[in-house]
Subunit: 201 residues, 2 copies
């Protein structure tokens, strides 16, 4: 249940219309909590019904008309409480890892291409993060608390992308290396291998 809080945060940083929020979720906040415009409009409706935000009454509310939203005191309180809330990290669900594991059983055909494609994606994302850091946080730690927290999150993004790039290089190297002599290659007709069974990993 984090989307409403993502929207509250975005609206506190700056009151916006649905479309403006959608655009901001394509950059900024969306880098670590993405949302489509359908999600955003629906959630804006819920938040307004719950009395946490309101539409600025300046413009007539009609379909196709811009509606500007701002956070009400109740919304700020809700967000303040949520920040202190405990929530376990979501279980990892990473299809690429699954593909590697499957490739161990049915063969690695086509895997290298996919790894290289992911590598390019992560390199592009890292470059984007680095550009943002150079532009928005040039002086190290001479900023106020909100900026330092934003920088911290940005560094998390940089760290994650760096990890992926490092690991994908390692994966490509492993994939290229021939198996040592005597080792069985994977492929059709292959059953369970030793090290499996009771061996969880």
């Amino acid at each position: 249940m984090s989307l409403p809080h993502a929207i509250l945060t975005a609206l506190l940083e700056r009151p916006s219309s649905g479309l403006e929020l959608t655009r901001r979720f394509d950059k900024s906040i969306g880098y670590f909590w993405s949302a489509s415009h359908q999600q955003i409009y629906r959630e804006l409706g819920r938040l307004e019904a719950a009395g946490l935000i309101r539409a600025l009454p300046s413009e007539r509310p009609a379909r196709g008309q811009r509606k500007q939203y701002e956070v009400l005191p109740a919304g700020r309180e809700e967000l303040t409480g949520w920040v202190a809330t405990g929530e376990d990290p979501r279980p990892l669900r990473e299809a690429l890892f699954l593909r590697l594991r499957a490739a161990g059983v049915v063969g690695t055909a086509g895997l290298g291409e996919e790894l290289r494609r992911h590598l390019a994606l992560h390199e592009r994302q890292l470059a984007e993060y680095n550009a943002i850091e150079a532009r928005d946080f040039p002086a190290d730690d001479a900023a106020d608390t909100p900026d330092r927290l934003r920088h911290l999150v940005l560094r998390a993004g940089i760290g994650l992308e760096s990890f992926w790039i490092y690991w994908l290089h390692e994966a490509l190297t492993t994939l290229r290396e021939p198996a040592p002599p005597g080792a069985r290659p994977p492929g059709p007709g292959d059953g369970a291998g030793p090290g499996d069974g009771a061996g969880p990993e």
Copy 2:
């Protein structure tokens, strides 16, 4: 749509009943693609209906009776094709990053505790991965291809947990440091700050 392929992989590594699969998804494969027993039973039914797996006819199929499943040739082909399939990484959705960002606007009360809690969780997970590596992959790279791929995935888990631990230490340090003189602290009554607005990050 990765769950069926996770199950096919697990069943190829070793034919299992629904409950055995559930147990294996609590370790092993479940570390990077978790699934509950309800998901698994439903998906086993679909895979059987699609002709990709079959229940071994040895035991009578009744409620409360163990059913053992094995992968049919069509299932192996399906998995082989899927390994070569391209799929973009899922957009990141990390509530902890959201909390930091929200804390920049409404204050950091209660955040430190949550960060320390996550740190402990990731340290425990890393220890578990390290134990598995020491037990299952003692000799570096003298293994066959399936084992090397499994080791690769395990190292990804180790790398990710190591990243989290590093970053959480950094976050806790940042949180403890007082803001430099002249910087505005976050809190109620605070609106948009400089660096926001057109500044995406």
